[in-house]
Symmetry: C2
Subunit: 294 residues, 2 copies
């Protein structure tokens, strides 16, 4: 299948499942459910949930049966964006050209919508107990919890916040990005396979793949902030530099950053060589990560 | 054992476990871990985690083996307090006489400390896979996730927020409290037993017990806001009334509210009659809930 058609099909599949699993606005509290849906169902690449499906595929698993897990990851991603945009954090009014959650629903509701999405993610993960070995469901819960909290996304966010206005060295930059964006991407790349009874050695390959695409993703994000098209990335170009954030172009320059992103993609592709033809979508996703324009 | 000594012993046991399971400030990001510990380790009754232990005891379970779950519940409780106190929510500067998390660590860090505590709770729940049936761990994860999100605490908080300044009827008041405080108390009352291989009928008794102590707890909270001793409850007496919040005394008057709280305790005690002598601590806890002064 052509990659673009593959992504479109998978995106439609994820979005139908999200619509099904998100609480409905005809159940109380309606406003909370509207706020949750507003951010999760906003247009997006659905990169993380598609990774979950591709990770299941790569070990011969069934994508239907890991849809709740894919949706759980997208809920966690949306939770992090809602909280990041709040006035006490980045204070962003726009995300991908739409008003941010707190602009539409107010700060208190946005805060609570984020909280409810994080809780919902773990409810969704617990739905896998029928088709999947329960030990694997618990292992997956643990991995996703660690990728979300201080050992992952939240810890990276704090380190990023603390680095603003300071000189950041390469180690700190790696620490920040491995957690802030890398942890959830790595978890996504492992999650589908973990719930499809992958072997330990398959999971190790996918973990390494996830590590490399996480770096490739972040370097590309940093590059797009410098050279991207504002109409595509949906936020002012150069906003990281203005906020004096730690970025790859700041530390390595633009050309070397571009070379580093490409190298990480090569590493990611190499890491899953042993998974053979079933892992082809994962390889295409890795290339897509550095070729995207948003 | 005398009830006060029982509570002191259990509290010490919970606090030692919390200290062990919370991320340490000598690991990065240190400030985040300090903020998490500041709120979780603040002096408290530890009612919810002690309920988890007593729930295990009530069905002949081992309290040591449910300590991670007890700590998970206390992390979720602390997460909810930190977020409730934020400027965009209740904007409280003091909790139990100490500066609130955002006053000490700043708003952004408080937000993230709450987020990290919610994630940590699910990591802790996933630690039960060795001694406990994995199916039960998943069932427990699902119950706690639902008690935390829109079907529980967060949903109740939203309904409470939306009721401010409006005339609240008895049904709405029940909806708010069943979710805002009731859901996590009910989950606590079931959790220990669920992880100790309780039978379905035992779990149903505990669920009913939890429902009644949840109501007793909230009615008592509302009463203490009217008649309590400010030095003991740690917030200004009458603050709910001033904020025009939905409360039992507002809807039923003080005398009837006191009678209702006592009746809920009787109902709670009756619900677990079949559990016999092992459930004695749960009965004492139910009585303590309406007799407490803070």
């Amino acid at each position: 299948m052509h990659f673009e058609a593959y992504m479109d099909q998978r995106r439609a599949c994820v979005e139908a499942a999200l619509d099904k699993y998100l609480p409905r606005p005809d159940q109380p509290p309606a406003k909370l459910h509207e706020a949750m849906r507003y951010s999760v169902l906003a247009p997006g690449k659905r990169l993380r949930p598609i990774l979950v499906l591709a990770s299941a595929e790569a070990v011969g698993g069934d994508i239907e049966s890991v849809l709740p897990a894919a949706c759980a990851i997208e809920c966690i991603h949306a939770f992090s964006l809602i909280h990041d945009d709040l006035p006490c954090m980045d204070n962003d009014d726009l995300r991908r050209g739409r008003p941010t959650n707190h602009v539409v629903f107010g700060e208190a509701m946005a805060l609570l919508a984020g909280d409810a999405l994080l809780a919902l993610a773990f409810e969704l993960l617990s739905m896998h107990s029928e088709s999947v070995s329960p030990q694997r469901v618990i292992q997956a819960t643990r991995m996703v919890a660690r990728a979300s909290g201080t050992w992952g996304m939240v810890g990276g966010q704090v380190a990023d916040m603390q680095s603003e206005g300071t000189e950041v060295d390469a180690d700190t930059l790696r620490f920040i990005h491995a957690r802030k964006t890398g942890a959830l991407l790595t978890a996504s790349a492992c999650l589908g396979a973990m719930l499809s009874n992958a072997s330990e050695s398959q999971l190790l390959c996918l973990q390494e793949y996830g590590h490399h695409i996480g770096l490739a993703f972040q370097i590309t994000d940093d590059i797009l902030d410098v050279v991207g098209d504002v109409s595509k990335i949906g936020k002012p170009v150069g906003s990281d530099l203005r906020q004096d954030k730690a970025t790859y172009p700041k530390l390595y320059g633009l050309d070397q950053s571009i070379a580093m992103a490409k190298e990480e993609v090569e590493n990611a592709v190499a890491a899953i060589e042993s998974l053979g033809v079933l892992a082809e979508p994962l390889r295409s996703i890795a290339r897509f990560i550095v070729e995207r324009e948003q």
